[in-house]
Symmetry: C2
Subunit: 356 residues, 2 copies
């Protein structure tokens, strides 16, 4: 099931770039790292119009394209060279399901958000000669990558828009993600990651429902907000939309991503000092929060935004909660376009004094 | 494990009352229904000082006693005759784990909140000759019973204080509870309810963690609010407090309660018309919401409170979220005592015109 899912047919067109062997923050090595990506628009001669948009948990470049890119949108290919990049482990880029033995499946090395960002920087430089980003943005795990980019490469990032995510996973966030992990690993068919194709479907279904219980808002269920998508009941929606999303995915891929999510922490750059890491950011930053977000609560996002010098908190409300990211709420989509358009119209951040 | 848990030693002293065979709303019959209860204080000669407090999900009369009853508290045995009653299925009252074959385990009949309330009314009348309640109150599933009492027996209930619960389970609430159910039934050791003693511990542990992920607030995790209880990390707390609470309990008991919770609906009395059911309530009612409640969100409670004529919404804030009910937050305890004291000091509700 997995191979057919992670395909050009379902998620393309995408291209891949071979980064060769790649040293990881863990000290391990990822052999033959390939990043899958899709681009839209034309790279300006001065390379000043680059927008980078890394993928989120369980998503690929395809949903980013469908939900955020297009003529008349803030991310308009007529204006920008938009690079949608698939994070390591998502199944289009190198992942447990697609690398050769013996480092396949549960033997795939542990990855951090910092690994992704370093790999993306190398890819952009080697493939396109891109050294500066007009904007980096992303939702959820994409927000983790966005903030890591802005803090790790402050001179290269002019604008940043983390959406519905944090620079460091909170204790509650880690705990919540662990319940998703346990839903999969608790399935006896998981067999320590050496499962037969399709065998972990009970675990994936439980994972989907745990994800839905807090990923959407209570209001969505109570108002049957899914009717516009053609679903009839909470059961029908949970099965037809959420289980359907996760069932074809590789359980080891999801676990790799979930563990990367839990370890998300820009302060790994600064010996654990979150304020110091966020103080490195020079980009003009719109920190965008979904007010009803059950994964990344507004308070947690606000606490970090206050540590980013040249930033503003922007709020959007949606009964779809965290999963408004999917682009299913026209109100959310319009608000995001407004914020991104406003941010892209701003001049680059004024030079700041270097930290003492 | 179960028998030692549901014991006088751990949960007593409690007494039991035999209601004989009991007809259920489902049309089934519960043979030899026993209700377990504990009383505090002295029944007044005119029987005007009765406070009824039914138990919540996975709790017994013991936690109600420890967290809410005592000299100087609103529920002071020097003033009131306080009856803490164990809901059907909790393991002190008749439950899957303690009735004889063949109606034991998964063959225990399905129970509704309405069954509990009818059984409690019969018990109070037959055992004590009590026909009126000065106050009925309860948290979570206890709030379900409280509202059912007030709507079903409007002439018998003078005051009501549902805390952190609703009269009808919302779609999201049912979905959330289903993830708790699935955590247990998804354990292969559950074996359709015919498990060996102690065998379902993985399912019970997963259930505990799903419960904790939304039962407490993100802030509790982030601020390590459990340190005051002697726990060191989120893991330590989840295992030592939450798993420890559920592990000794009978999986069939928990499932019976969870399914009763999902079916909670006072409008079963009125052909599905919630407004009509709540309009039956004559009691002076304080509808108490925990602002951060992840199980019963403030908005859902507010929507129902507006349908109760002689009611006021009272709010309490706690980083313990829904599970502040356990009495672990001194601020919550003080606020509840204030509200209950205020409600008990009010004269009985003035007679209202009967509904047309």
């Amino acid at each position: 099931m997995s191979d057919a899912y992670y395909s050009q047919e379902l998620h393309g067109p995408f291209e891949t770039f071979d980064l060769g062997d790649f040293e990881l923050e863990s000290g391990e090595k990822l052999r033959g790292l390939r990043l899958a990506y899709a681009t839209f628009g034309t790279l300006a001669a001065d390379k000043s119009n680059v927008v980078l948009f890394p993928s989120w948990y369980s998503g690929t470049s395809k949903i980013l394209e469908q939900a955020y890119v297009g003529p008349g949108r803030a991310l308009d290919p007529a204006k920008y060279f938009i690079v949608l990049v698939n994070q390591i482990g998502n199944g289009l880029s190198s992942a447990p399901n697609n690398v050769p033995p013996p480092f396949n499946g549960p033997r795939f090395p542990r990855i951090t958000i910092g690994d992704d960002v370093r790999a993306q920087q190398k890819f952009l430089s080697e493939k396109f000669g891109i050294e500066e980003l007009a904007l980096v943005l992303g939702g959820s795990m994409g927000a983790q990558q966005t903030l890591e980019w802005a803090a790790r490469f402050p001179e290269r990032v002019k604008r940043a828009a983390p959406i519905a995510g944090t620079a460091r996973a909170t204790a509650h966030n880690k705990f919540l993600v662990q319940t998703f992990i346990d839903a999969i690993t608790g399935d006896p068919a998981f067999e320590d990651g050496w499962f037969k194709p399709g065998a972990v479907h009970r675990g994936l279904r439980r994972h989907a429902r745990a994800f839905a219980a807090s990923g959407f808002t209570p209001q969505l269920f109570n108002e049957e907000g899914w009717r516009g998508l053609g679903f009839t009941t909470a059961e029908d929606f949970a099965t037809g939309f959420v289980e359907n999303h996760f069932l074809p995915q590789d359980a080891n891929n999801l676990l790799l991503l979930a563990q990367k999510w839990q370890r998300g922490d820009v302060a790994r750059q600064t010996g654990g000092d979150l304020a110091a890491a966020l103080a490195r950011i020079k980009a003009k930053t719109f920190v965008i929060a979904i007010e009803e977000d059950g994964f990344f609560p507004l308070d947690d996002i606000l606490a970090e935004q206050r540590l980013i010098a040249n930033s503003e908190l922007k709020r959007v409300s949606s009964i779809w909660g965290h999963l408004a990211l999917f682009g299913v709420d026209a109100g959310y989509n319009a608000a995001i376009d407004t914020y991104l358009g406003e941010l892209l119209a701003l001049p680059e951040a004024a030079p700041q004094a270097a930290a003492a």
